[in-house]
């Protein structure tokens, strides 16, 4: 019985093992790795979908399988599947390391799945570390090794620094309460949150998750890593990794009960600084991926608003936002990958004339960008609406106003992307990005998803509500 609930994790573990084995065989053809990975990732998605209604507590209550976790597992496996689908031309990674690439990708996904289900501080910590280490190594896999190792070093240093901070926070938390199970913390924490030690402990603990979400001040890795990582991996970091961070943050923050205004205020301050810093810095970017990195810092700020509400509405909003981010960011990176077919880093100028070279891709990019900017009727708007609505129900009018002004600032660079794709003509005629039939189908599906989910989000919101009900 217990193992059935653990199927998605086991599946991905097995997949990772398979790639471990594959990495040891002689390389015949990269296509083999791709197809294996794609089918495995597809299978993983199906498994996760099948297991979505599973429920139970495993491993002596350290591991909780509920709708919340299973939903996020679906999102994670979807993210993995989408990213793997982009890997048909994995030119950013040296050919001989493709198996390791997939291996680490699956391991990372597995780690995140463990993360979203963990309800014990130890398992949260170690699975967080596992996912981080997979990513450090993945980033270093960039074919242009100078760029890869550079980015990996920064990522690594900031990562371990924040994980050390988080660890110390956990230690303080443990010292103050003597509890390690989230379920216990939910009971006790709201009562003791006004103690300075607990407050500091919580804030330090959150640092590790903020790192994952690329929130100020733990966001410094994002621009370098997005640029330094292979494009597909950057897509993975921007999507799946964020989704997992949202999930675990929701779990942890919800445990604090939301009664302490100091904590809420400081989170709000971080959210505001994060979005402001992200948006302002993104204004002047020329490199598409770096721009997306800053934009994701800003988006993290928006998500945090939903999280800091510590209310069911806020949790719904954050969950929905995670899904939205997955779709929007992935669509952007789809464009990145397709435009930079050689695996390089496209600049904004590389988008010039895209509307002629590939109207579909341009349309998808435009929709994704508008969604990121939060313009209706796209999924991004609905997500923002939910987040802001939740914040407003808590009475955070000023926060919402500031966030909305950030949205306006962000619009500028999003429009620059649209302008690059739709208005400017390329100085040198560049070949049209090759979109296979399946890629076309994928792109179309993404466009439709972005618009339809944005316009009629009701089923998903209902789903999110059910999922978040276990948090409070």
């Amino acid at each position: 019985m217990m193992w059935q609930q653990f199927t998605p994790e086991l599946y991905h573990f097995a997949a990772a093992l398979l790639f471990t084995a594959l990495s040891m065989t002689r390389r015949v053809d990269n296509r083999r790795d791709y197809w294996v990975a794609l089918s495995l990732a597809g299978g993983g998605l199906i498994v996760c979908l099948a297991a979505v209604r599973a429920e139970g507590l495993l491993f002596l209550n350290t591991y909780k399988v509920d709708l919340f976790a299973q939903l996020f597992k679906v999102l994670l496996s979807m993210g993995l599947f989408l990213v793997v689908a982009l890997c048909s031309e994995l030119n950013g990674v040296a050919r001989r390391w493709h198996s390791e690439f997939y291996l680490l990708l699956f391991t990372c996904t597995l780690a995140m799945m463990l993360l979203v289900s963990s309800v014990h501080l130890i398992s949260i910590y170690v699975s967080l570390e596992l996912s981080s280490y997979s990513l450090y190594v993945l980033v270093a896999l960039r074919r242009d090794a100078a760029m890869g190792t550079q980015a990996a070093l920064r990522y690594f240093l900031i990562g371990i620094f924040s994980s050390a901070i988080m660890l110390f926070g956990l230690a303080l938390l443990y010292a103050a309460t003597g509890l390690t199970y989230l379920s216990d913390l939910v009971q006790v924490l709201p009562g003791v949150i006004d103690q300075p030690l607990v407050l500091v402990a919580v804030v330090l603990t959150l640092g590790g998750f903020f790192f994952k979400l690329a929130l100020f001040p733990f966001h410094f890795w994002a621009p370098d890593v997005y640029v330094g990582a292979p494009n597909q991996l950057a897509a993975f970091i921007a999507t799946a990794s964020k989704v997992a961070a949202v999930a675990v943050l929701l779990r942890v923050v919800a445990a604090t009960g939301g009664q302490e205004t100091l904590l809420v205020d400081s989170l709000a301050a971080l959210a505001i600084i994060s979005m402001t810093v992200g948006n302002l810095a993104a204004l002047v970017q020329k490199d598409f991926k770096r721009l997306l990195a800053y934009s994701s810092i800003a988006q993290a700020g928006y998500v945090l608003i939903g999280i800091l509400c510590m209310s069911p509405e806020g949790a719904d909003a954050a969950i929905f936002y995670a899904l939205a981010l997955l779709l929007m960011k992935f669509t952007c990176f789809l464009a990145v990958v397709k435009i930079a077919a050689d695996g390089g880093n496209p600049s904004l100028d590389a988008l010039a004339g895209l509307h002629r070279r590939s109207p579909l891709l341009a349309l998808a990019l435009m929709m994704a960008v508008f969604a990121l900017a939060g313009i209706p009727p796209t999924i991004g708007f609905t997500a923002k609406l939910l987040v802001f609505s939740a914040a407003m129900h808590k009475g955070y009018l000023v926060l919402v106003l500031i966030a909305m002004f950030n949205v306006v600032i962000s619009l500028y660079y999003y429009l620059l992307i649209v302008k690059a794709a739709y208005l400017t003509e390329p100085a040198v005629e560049t070949p049209a990005p090759v979109l296979s039939l399946s890629a076309r189908a994928l792109t179309t599906a993404l466009i439709i998803a972005i618009v339809v989910v944005g316009f009629y989000p009701n089923p998903l919101i209902v789903m999110a509500r059910q999922a978040s009900s276990s948090l409070f």
Partner: protein, 500 residues
């Protein structure tokens, strides 16, 4: 039969016309521009017919909301797909239908990226229609943005003078407005504690405290005010209009600016009547500054579109003044002015578009003698200008009359200033007419052809509308009355009895 009409979703049908038009255009290969234009014309014509039908079929005796359509949409948030029309939205629907149709016809000569243009155009107009008929705050906001964001591409791709700058400025500026509107909406929904976005439910009196109303109204007023060209948030208007192509200018100045004032009316005034009364002096002051300032600043402009842009600022000031008076007359006048200004500006831009297309200039000093060169085009322009200076028996006059009556009663000083601005606006428009249409024929342009009969169709329609409502203002005012009188309490018939 009546049952059938009541049940047929006419309002959704209008939206569907836009949607179907959009899809059809998307499916037509881009190498059939003529077909695309015809599809656009048919689609927009259908919306016009439908909006005229709705306007006529509305039962004025009954008043209130009619043609109501209501389906649950996002239940957990209390969001519904909720459409309906009343005396305020019907003029706007009619206006949109007219401007949409004539806007399509005015762009018949377009050759660049025809498919994309009309697709975006349809999207834009769908947003406008949706907003005017929407009664759910969520949808109102969605439509608001849907009507704004195609604007960027429409201006930046098909525009002219400083188009990228203008497009960026306009889009950012207008969406900055939405940065105030969305929080205001969410704030009201949150403090109501009703978990609904239903406008009608939220209008229930006593739902919000005076402070909440003041706060929310201010946000809504500033947010929508940007789009309505309220001084000092008006500077996007000249820049944007100069940059935009003809059809877009028409829709933008003609209809989109109305969204701003309509938003203030529909959201601000309906939801926060206390706030409305509280901020009315501010509104009136800004409006009067806009009226005078727009006319004065326009006096020195040399670009025709700048001129019209500033005149729009001035005219929208009249709308604002009407709204600020908190009286039935003021509301009637404001809504009527919204309609009249919409048609008039559409006519303006349509004529200027034609002139620009032929002469390749819209700089006033380079023009002259147009009345001799292209009499029809010049006539349309002159009629628009005369409407703009408030000549009686043209639609705008009545609106201004009502606004002034209301304004003098409530804010005497503001009213006197606003009335005095009539002189400046006359000076301003007549100067433009003199410099462009009159004077000796410009030899370099002498060979240019006049508007052909078919090409003058959109302008003729607009002129006819202006004259029709100029001679029979009752058609419109009676309609608006059905909404404005209940809004301010009291029924139309009681009030009428006071002064036989």
């Amino acid at each position: 039969m009546a049952l059938f009409y009541a049940e047929f979703p006419f309002l959704t049908a209008i939206l569907l016309c836009c949607g179907a038009g959009l899809l059809t255009i998307m499916l037509i290969p881009s190498n059939h521009p003529q077909l695309i234009k015809w599809v656009s014309a048919v689609g927009s014509g259908l919306t016009l017919v439908l909006s005229v039908y709705v306007f006529i079929a509305y039962d004025q005796g009954l008043g209130g909301l009619q043609f109501v359509e209501r389906y649950p949409w996002i239940e957990s948030l209390g969001i519904q797909y909720f459409n309906g029309v009343d005396g305020f939205s019907l003029p706007m629907l009619l206006l949109t239908g007219i401007v949409f149709f004539t806007g399509v016809l005015s762009m018949w000569q377009l050759e660049l990226r025809v498919k994309e243009y009309f697709a975006l155009y349809f999207l834009l107009v769908a947003g406008v229609f949706g907003l005017f008929m929407g009664l759910d705050l969520f949808f109102i906001f969605v439509w608001y943005d849907v009507s704004l964001f195609p604007m960027y591409l429409l201006i930046a791709v098909w525009g002219s003078t400083r188009k990228e700058y203008g497009a960026m400025k306009l889009t950012l500026y207008l969406l900055a407005g939405s940065a105030l509107i969305l929080p205001a909406i969410l704030y009201l929904v949150a403090v109501s504690g009703l978990n609904t976005f239903d406008l009608v439910t939220l209008t229930r009196p006593g739902l919000f405290t005076p402070f909440q109303q003041k706060l929310a109204f201010l946000l809504l007023y500033l947010g929508f005010g940007i789009l309505a060209g309220v001084w000092p948030f008006h500077t996007w208007s000249p820049v944007g209009h100069v940059a935009a192509p003809t059809g877009v200018s028409m829709v933008h100045a003609g209809v989109l600016m109305k969204i701003g004032s309509f938003g203030v009316l529909r959201l601000g005034i309906f939801l926060c009547p206390e706030g409305w009364r509280y901020w009315a002096p501010l509104m009136a002051t800004l409006a009067v500054i806009g009226i005078v300032y727009g006319a004065l600043a326009g006096l020195r402009q040399t670009d025709l579109k700048y001129v019209v842009g500033y005149s729009s600022v001035s005219h929208m000031g009249i709308v604002g003044l009407g709204l600020a008076t908190v009286s039935v007359d003021g509301l009637n006048g404001a809504v009527f002015q919204m309609f009249a200004h919409g048609v008039m500006t559409a006519l303006f831009f349509s004529s200027i578009g034609y002139i620009y297309e032929r002469t390749h200039t819209k700089m006033i000093p380079e023009l002259g003698g147009l009345s001799r060169i292209m009499p029809r085009a010049a006539t349309f322009f002159i009629i628009a200008a005369l409407t703009s200076i408030g000549v009686p028996c043209l639609a705008s006059f009545w609106a201004e009359l009502m606004v002034f009556i209301a304004a003098i009663r409530v804010f005497p000083v503001h009213g006197v200033l606003a009335v005095s601005a009539l002189v400046i606006s006359a000076l301003f428009m007549l100067r433009v007419i003199q410099k462009t249409c009159y004077g000796p024929r410009n030899a370099t342009m002498a060979h240019l052809p006049d508007v052909s009969f078919s090409m003058s169709l959109p302008r003729v329609i607009l002129v006819m509308v202006i004259v029709l409502f100029g001679f029979f203002p009752g058609l419109m005012v009676d309609m608006i009355q059905t909404a404005s009188v209940p809004l301010l309490g009291g029924s139309a018939h009681d009030v009428a009895a006071v002064y036989p």
